[in-house]
Symmetry: C2
Subunit: 375 residues, 2 copies
């Protein structure tokens, strides 16, 4: 993983190559069979597509099959899923999968317009509502329906900032409290600045291989116990409820069928907290808390690294940073470090099973990965 930063002036290729080289060096593989690149906004912001061949060339690996995979803000998670299927297909053995997003260096309206590419351009974006605005509607409805206060939701970013203090690659390494969140500038009522992930640049990468081959490269291989994707209607107005993401539930159900892993088996959890409300909803939709009671886990300190549900151990989207198309891969890379006991100060002691949830659009795509330390 590269550090998540804003304003460095570094480009897509520079970022991707740093993460990819780290992944190759760390895994010890010399040859790759293919390359998968997760990214959402390069066409719009950088006017650059064809990231597969671009990154293969930049890595000196031209020749290999190379792909760009897009699933909005879940592009990183979705790219891992596509790469997992490539390995399972038997056609490719050693697969490099990375994801990159560069969001800084543009005006806020430009980035805001870019993010709205995750929603329906003709029917929703055209109304003028922003991506934050749609999430704000969810927050308002959730607070009303379940009688949850903004103070309670605000604990999520406070928690993430606390964890990020220990992550040298985090974008926001600053302790905040609930009052800081509530007093930060209003973005889209009720969401305030500190309810929202920021604008950042970054890349992350991992190497996948069949189990027998992975054992040759490392003494501490990590098993992909489940890799699933589910979709939902693209737009909120098409759904019976907006306070549950059905795609999270479906993706989790499929992941359970693949792995047999239940919430109580999960030692470390990474959820897609692009906004405070989404972090809380994820705890519920994935079965770690009853609907409407996700904030109780925070009240009780259970999301801390020594709690019952250690969540967003490196700071999550809010504080580690959210280079949108890359975040899903940061999550998986962070889980791998946890399960290899290489997470440094972010380590969750004894973690053996991890789950990552990556969300594209307003819950329209959800990728779930369950990783397990191999015995």
């Amino acid at each position: 993983m590269t550090p998540v930063t804003a304003g460095s002036g570094r480009g897509l290729t520079d970022l991707f190559v740093e993460a990819a080289r780290q992944a190759l060096d760390d895994s010890g593989v010399d040859r790759i069979d293919s390359l998968y690149v997760g990214n959402m906004m390069s066409g719009f912001l950088q006017n650059q597509e064809h990231l597969g061949a671009l990154m293969a060339t930049a890595l000196g690996r031209e020749g290999v099959p190379a792909y760009k995979i897009e699933g909005a803000c879940a592009s990183g998670g979705v790219a891992v899923n596509a790469a997992v299927k490539a390995v399972l297909s038997g056609l490719e053995n050693v697969v490099l999968v990375g994801a990159v997003e560069k969001m800084s260096g543009y005006t806020t309206p430009e980035v805001t317009a870019g993010l709205m590419m995750a929603e329906d351009r003709l029917k929703v974006a055209s109304t003028g509502v922003t991506f934050v605005g749609l999430n704000a509607m969810i927050a308002r409805e959730y607070m009303h329906k379940y009688k949850v206060t903004h103070e309670s939701l605000a604990q999520f970013p406070v928690h993430c900032h606390q964890n990020a203090l220990d992550n040298p690659k985090a974008q926001f390494r600053k302790k905040i409290d609930v009052q800081d969140v509530l007093q930060s500038p209003l973005v889209a009522d009720p969401l305030r600045l500190l309810d929202c992930s920021g604008i950042g640049d970054g890349a992350a990468a991992i190497v996948l291989a069949p189990k027998d081959l992975a054992r040759k490269f490392t003494d501490s291989p990590i098993e992909v116990a489940a890799s699933t994707v589910a979709s939902d209607t693209l737009s909120l107005y098409q759904r019976p409820t907006i306070t549950t993401f059905e795609a999270s539930r479906q993706a989790y159900d499929r992941a359970y069928k693949q792995s047999g892993v239940t919430p109580k088996d999960v030692d470390v959890l990474e959820v897609h907290d692009a906004f405070s409300i989404l972090g809380v909803m994820a705890l519920e939709d994935l079965g770690f808390a009853k609907k409407g009671s996700g904030t109780q886990l925070l009240d009780e300190g259970e999301c801390a690294r020594d709690g019952r549900v250690p969540t967003n151990s490196f700071g999550g989207l809010k504080a580690r940073g959210h280079p949108v198309g890359a975040s899903g891969l940061y999550q998986v890379a962070e889980l791998a470090l946890q399960l290899k006991n290489e997470a440094g100060k972010c380590q969750v002691p004894g973690a053996e099973v991890g789950l990552a949830q990556s969300v594209g659009g307003i819950g329209s795509t959800v990728a779930i990965h369950i990783l397990r330390a191999m015995k």
Copy 2:
């Protein structure tokens, strides 16, 4: 396949749904396990990403895993390859894969800038050279190196226009001759307007399934005998030669290893003739003619439907049309019709084996599919 048209005002969703519904109806499947969408330019031209969830929703199939796959002008071919791996993975059985591009309704400079996203933005597009300009350099070098005249190259579009007369879905159903090509407006020396594919909108889709399952849906299933992708350096300046696409050769070598199919086994061939020079080079790079002698096949009428190498039987990119990210899927769908003996007036009698080559950027990505009628 939708007809390829320009100026209809139809949007991405409208086009994609028409093709996808045709594919579903034609194959008789009621349920799909996943959806793959090939597309290159939606972020840039339509400011719309997240085509996976968008199209799943439009088809009333929300819930399924849904992906956008991008590989520049080869996006359609690359999407089929990703979908093939999904089926082989065992995680998905019935897979809908489609591709769509909408290029009309924008200014020529806008579309030209969009196409250059296939090349390196910072190092090549920034010089001002266009996508046609780069292909023109290849044509000039090829003509010089192999003493081939423009008259000879011009036979390729003439041939394609001839075939398109029989294809009701073709964009350009107009007979042309070599003099028409040579006298058409100059675009980038030596390439003239009729050396170049046009700007068009369209979508194509197919359904993939494991062989045993496919037999339950149809009496005339088509086997994907090979599905490969190769990359090359993103930019021409990075290559030792520009008159051969090494990625075509590599993708074909891999396809041969998968299928055992040699050029003499191929009954019908679809090549990526975005420009006349590319059609001729493909005949050579894929082993149907010696290097520098591809035009001899045209001289001798061997590319006609009753020739030795029936090529671009529905009109190819030049005359059927080239909605860039969709063309690779048009090719595969056309081959399937040929092998099912359902190609109407475009039928190549007795065709049992077909090969499609889809090129992204200036030969930086090549996808090859070999299809075979199942006994």
